[in-house]
């Protein structure tokens, strides 16, 4: 990762809320993502980790512009330095920006896989070349999604991202659940191939080990906010190498580290507290933590959202 290179994607204080009916006909806004900030540079894999409900999947859907109609998005998403507007996104999706979803359910159950991978922008020849690269046999193109094995389905989903030809940003939402470690590692190698070809990869995952093994940097999410961005090496080392108390606790809780759980649980969407969302569980909490929104700041080559971090 060359420093000073312009990021492909930068997300600045992204917030997502849903308007819902609360008690009868009163509408209420439910804030689910409060302040997500990150950037993806060309040639790197940025791993996004955090527990369920921290806003990881919504981030992917917000970038791809596929949130449900009752969602409101605030904050800024820049693609190659310019705001990623609805109109601009329409021309980029499926060509420069590719989405790799979680499961085979994202394929049309009644369309043959080959035709589906070709989509509206790819060509038959490109699809065949990609299938060969991903070791998908000649018969696979004529199969329906229900006939694919777990590993085949995953490779087909990868193929949909590669078929556009000129991919600059890959957004992957939990691409490896249910795969054995060998297969998951193979999938990660395919992500590396995207990055090595110069694309930026935003890899949203539950699997911390995989993220540490194959990502360049890690963004840690907690209760709808990015709390830290660190290199994968720093996260693996844990302790003093990290900047935020939550990432330290996260790293400590890993089996290969101290396997130490922290008490309490992540606050729910809708009941996000004022100030730092982690304050209630933080050993270093002071009055200052609750005083208002904590900004993201640069620290030791990474980023952190904590008033105390040094």
């Amino acid at each position: 990762m060359a420093p000073g290179m312009e990021p492909i994607l930068s997300v600045e204080e992204l917030a997502v809320s849903f308007s819902m009916y609360d008690r009868g006909l009163r509408k209420a806004d439910l804030a689910v993502i409060r302040s997500l900030s990150l950037d993806v540079r060309p040639g790197e894999v940025l791993g996004v980790i955090g527990s369920s409900g921290s806003g990881k999947s919504l981030l992917a859907h917000a970038i791809m512009g596929i949130l449900p109609p009752n969602a409101t998005v605030r904050g800024e998403v820049l693609y190659r330095g310019e705001p990623l507007t609805e109109a601009r996104l329409r021309g980029l999706r499926g060509r420069e920006i590719a989405f790799i979803p979680q499961s085979v359910d994202y394929l049309d159950p009644l369309m043959r896989v080959g035709r589906q991978v070709v989509g509206t922008f790819g060509t038959r020849a490109a699809q065949e070349a990609i299938f060969e690269r991903y070791r998908l046999g000649a018969g696979v193109a004529r199969m329906y999604p229900f006939q694919l094995s777990g590993g085949m389905a995953r490779r087909v989903l990868f193929a949909t991202a590669a078929v556009g030809g000129d991919v600059k940003l890959v957004v992957a939402d939990e691409p490896t659940p249910g795969l054995g470690p060998d297969l998951a590692a193979k999938m990660m190698k395919h992500f590396r191939e995207f990055a090595d070809a110069g694309a930026g990869v935003l890899l949203i995952t539950h699997d911390v080990d995989l993220a540490l093994g194959y990502a360049d940097r890690i963004a840690v999410f907690y209760a709808g906010a990015t709390v830290e961005i660190a290199t994968a090496a720093e996260f693996a080392a844990g302790g003093a190498a990290l900047r935020h108390p939550y990432s330290r606790a996260f790293s400590d809780a890993l089996p290969q580290n101290r396997f130490l759980p922290i008490p309490g649980s992540q606050p729910y969407a809708g009941s996000l507290p004022e100030g730092c969302p982690f304050a209630a569980r933080c050993p270093e909490r002071t009055e200052a933590c609750l005083a208002g929104d904590v900004p993201m700041r640069d620290l030791r080559g990474g980023k952190v959202r904590c008033v105390h971090a040094a």
Partner: protein
């Protein structure tokens, strides 16, 4: 599917169904306050009591119910449906002549309501929640709750009586020799009955398609198609229609029972000389052989509708056709 076993199974099911329908309708008719003798000779007959006794004896009317059923069913199996009192001809001939007319009427209405309903459902579902969508929904619900004969009367009084565009009934012009009847005459007479039956049947398929489209548009693969840069139009053409068409076709075939019921009423309103008006006439005249005969034909028709729906699912849905597959 082992095809030969499948076909045997289907035939067995059809025979069982026909047996059940025949027993049920026979028992119902036997319990109904219809005196076959009175129906035959008329209420003001001058026949002597002895002569009546003889007829009853000859017909076996005093036999126990199972024996009467077996005699009737045995005749049916030999192709003898009995004689219609209303038309003074064999029931089999009456049905054979009239079924084609009913079939033309039903198939035209079935096709029209299917195609129009499908596209109306899609147009309405795409704009889910809009004024157009809500109007279509109300329109379909009203049509679904309105009785077929009432719609028939409305159509009749407006297009045939008020505007005078179409004849008020029958299948061919009155007083014209059969040899002189043209195709245009026939079409002219078909329009209103077909229109009525189409309107009666369109609500179900429209609402179903609409509902299915709304469901499909909310699924993950539509989301993914959008994330891959497909436009709304491409999504609907490439994915939505593909996923809705199959269940819609199935529903349309499975609606043969409603179609048959609607046909009976529409034929009566328009004096259309098909099976339905014969059925109504049979019921009003206590014409037991004809009533039972048409009931069997109706059951057979509905059975074939459902059978086609099942077979189509197996042929068209890759998940059934290639089930198990390579995985």
């Amino acid at each position: 599917m082992a095809t030969r076993r499948g076909i045997l199974f289907v035939i067995l099911r059809m025979l069982l169904l026909l047996f059940a329908v025949s027993v049920l309708s026979f028992v119902l008719v036997a319990m109904a306050p219809i005196d076959p003798l009175v129906a035959y000779v008329g209420p003001s007959s001058t026949l002597s009591e002895e002569a009546k006794e003889e007829i009853v004896e000859h017909w076996g009317l005093s036999d126990p119910l199972p024996a009467r059923y077996l005699a009737w069913a045995g005749n049916i199996l030999r192709g003898d449906f009995g004689d219609s009192i209303t038309y003074q001809r064999p029931v089999a001939d009456v049905i054979r002549e009239r079924f084609l007319l009913s079939f033309v009427l039903m198939m035209l209405a079935w096709g029209l309501s299917g195609v129009l309903g499908f596209f109306l459902g899609i147009a309405s579902g795409i704009r889910g929640g809009s004024v157009f969508d809500r109007a279509v929904k109300v329109f379909c619900l009203v049509l679904q709750s309105a009785p077929a004969f009432w719609i028939g009367l409305l159509v009749l009084s407006f297009f045939a009586v008020r505007l005078g565009w179409f004849p008020i009934g029958m299948a061919v012009p009155m007083g014209k020799l059969a040899a002189d009847v043209t195709v245009a005459d026939r079409i002219h007479h078909l329009v209103l009955p077909v229109l009525t039956l189409t309107v009666v049947s369109i609500g179900k398929i429209t609402l179903y398609t609409r509902q299915k489209l709304v469901e499909t548009m909310g699924s993950d693969f539509i989301l993914f198609a959008r994330a891959r840069g497909e436009t709304q139009g491409q999504i609907i053409r490439r994915h939505a229609i593909r996923n809705i068409a199959l269940p819609a076709v199935t529903v349309q075939f499975a609606s043969f029972s409603e179609l048959f019921g609607g046909m009976t009423l529409a034929e009566t309103v328009f004096a259309w000389p098909g099976v339905g008006s014969a059925m109504t006439a049979a019921a009003l005249n206590g014409d037991v052989p004809l009533l039972l005969g048409t009931a069997l034909i109706g059951a057979l028709f509905v059975f074939f509708g459902n059978l086609i729906a099942n077979v189509l699912y197996g042929v068209l849905d890759p998940r059934v056709r290639e089930g198990g597959g390579y995985a």
